[in-house]
Symmetry: C2
Subunit: 400 residues, 2 copies
């Protein structure tokens, strides 16, 4: 597998664009269009929030058939909570995109992100679709990744090159965060592409499995948006043989997909609103997988843990406390806690540590935390970020 | 019922003191002692965190027998996570207190709050116990309430006077917060006293029920400490007849206890670390009590909701989003959201509102939020606070 720092237009046959239609101020990019020169197999995972954005509802309905040829995302104004007009607007978008690209409206998947409760400015968007279609290019992935951003501070793209039966196969992706991220949800917008030859049912299976080990393992603030989704389009243009279940070709493909999803996930966690650090929480030797997951999630979501990391404070007490109320079963007297290689808490007892050494570790941009329950054989890993003054600043005034 | 702005020494026969023994800097009060001139019936509720402080473990063991005569709390250095010495130190404290007061060690309940993982400075504490015992007075409640504070910005005391069968009965209390507060736990230290005549088993029943409608309904940051507890001592000195279950006397007593607990709870929420506002979240017309509780708790714990209130932003979208991922069943298209009297979201649709009016409501110190699911008959109320820059400041550097 070769890692590539490019995105959705890396696989063969995909074009993309990112343009400004005037939803965001200062001509910032706010419309992203992705197009495949042939009809693709597709799969998707959507928010589990009981409240769902209108564009997302339409996309999930259209994607059910397993075929798609384009993805259209607008940012700045989410199409959610505006009543029946919301679904009508999403349908109009698919029709305008389809008409311009000469494809079928039901092959256009729509997404939308930004402030909820305001109707989309459809005149701007309709004109924007024409502009976006005219701007499509095989190097447009970077612009598209910029056009889906909201409070993100940088674009998130990643791709891999695989060799499957001596044929080059590419998987590319882009994502946006950066607040409202929590485990166990399709919790941001992520668009993935591949030129692999794979059925939509097997693609769905691979996607769900990859997401469970990547996007569902990151946490910024425990909140989950109503518009968040991940979709993948496979156009088969690599000319590799169809990938079948339980083969080494499938494993190869799955590992590539997982790599892209994990890289994008870490970019999202690192770019959490106001984040200054990426924190990897490793739970070791838990009695059950559920215990490991509960503890990892509680630690990753604890505002007290996250503020301690912002303050570069080796506060193992908050890690232990969060594990303690997580619902995970463990014995504190068998538990060991490390930050980096430094042991802070050893089998139930706080131990003296070198504050200078701790401080040196905590000043890094990447911090590795290990909570070892000392009994059992299960583990889990979650990525999160610290909680800074800027998190408050960004979120206290985002709407207005 | 008469509301009194006093505390644990308001009921007859109780003395208290708060002194400085040198755990905290600058001679700040750090030891609180409470004593009844006769043996009391007692009841208690303790943290549900799997990790438990050593002093708390001993107190919960001693309180099981239903009798106590003194409560001793130190602040600044919590007796937790220090290995077997922790329980030994707690025992020594009960012995020194009992010896000085000429009571039984098992009648001394110990609590401890502050940074965990550091052994108690026992020499300072032993000397402090003597000083605290010598300072006991019938007006010492205020000093004691000061001595249990950690990051609290003000003391929390409340009391009521009841008339039960024409006899005066008092209930008093003190509490400390102010981070690490979350529903469904005995989540801070609170000491309650009464001169009512009531058995420890009925007292336990009343306490659990009152806590479920007060301390378990507040949320500051979703974290739960290992040292948090509520205990109540009843010394019977009011000379009222024994209070029996299912009588109007019991109802009278319970309502008084609930009033004290709710007043202390709101003081804790309002004094959440860095808080600038008290926010009351009311869920109305839910299908089940569980649905109402899940939604109220998710909203109260959402960092995005709490930062929006800090920013005085009428962001109904975050309220709806939090309810949506809470696990509560409801129909967004039947849901209405109000801040104060102002409707922001009406049966599934965002509606235009007067921003000046919204801003006027949001600038208040007490904010009332209503999320009405529009179907069903269950409701729940939770108190929380906003999330400010000061929350980050306090928690990023608390340990050091």
């Amino acid at each position: 597998m070769k890692l590539l720092f490019s995105g959705v237009t890396t696989p063969k046959g995909f074009k993309a664009s990112g343009i400004s239609c005037g939803i965001k101020k200062d001509n910032k990019l706010d419309l992203a269009l992705l197009y495949s020169t042939n009809i693709c197999q597709c799969a998707g995972v959507y928010t589990k929030n009981i409240v769902k954005g209108h564009s997302l509802v339409l996309a999930s309905e259209y994607a059910k058939k397993g075929q798609a040829q384009a993805v259209f995302i607008n940012s700045g104004n989410a199409n959610a909570c505006v009543g029946p007009k919301g679904i009508d607007d999403a349908k109009i978008i698919t029709e305008v995109v389809a008409n311009k690209l000469k494809i079928i409206p039901k092959h256009v998947l729509t997404g939308s992100t930004g402030v909820i409760g305001y109707k989309l400015p459809m005149d701007k968007i309709k004109k924007g679709i024409i502009k976006a279609a005219n701007s499509l290019s095989e190097t447009g992935g970077a612009s598209a990744s910029k056009a889906i951003m909201t409070t993100d501070t940088y674009t998130k793209e990643f791709a891999v090159k695989l060799m499957i039966n001596d044929m080059e196969v590419f998987i590319g992706g882009m994502a946006k965060g950066s607040g409202m991220i929590m485990p166990n949800m399709a919790t941001m917008i992520s668009i993935l592409t591949t030129d692999a030859n794979i059925s939509h049912s097997l693609l769905q299976k691979a996607l769900v499995s990859a997401i469970n080990q990547s996007f569902n393992k990151i946490s910024v603030d425990g909140d989950t948006s109503v518009c968040d989704m991940t979709v993948i389009l496979a156009n088969g243009q690599s000319k590799c043989q169809p990938i079948k279940e339980k083969t080494k070709e499938y494993n190869e493909f799955f590992n590539g997909l997982l790599e892209v999803c994990q890289q994008l996930s870490k970019m999202i966690a690192r770019d959490g609103e106001g984040a200054t650090k990426l924190i990897e929480i490793n739970i070791k030797n838990a009695f059950t997988l559920n215990d490991a997951e509960l503890a990892a999630k509680a630690i990753a979501n604890s505002p007290l843990v996250k503020t301690a990391f912002f303050g570069e404070d080796a506060n193992w007490g908050r890690l232990l406390t969060a594990a303690g109320y997580s619902g995970a079963k463990f014995n504190p007297d068998k538990t060991t806690i490390k930050i980096g290689h430094l042991v802070l808490f050893d089998k139930g007892v706080a131990i003296p540590f070198n504050e200078i050494e701790a401080s040196e570790i905590l000043q890094r941009k990447d911090i590795f935390v290990t909570v070892d329950f000392g009994e059992g054989n299960y583990e889990d890993t979650v990525w999160t970020c610290d909680f800074s003054y800027d998190y408050i600043k960004i979120n206290a005034h985002y709407r207005t």
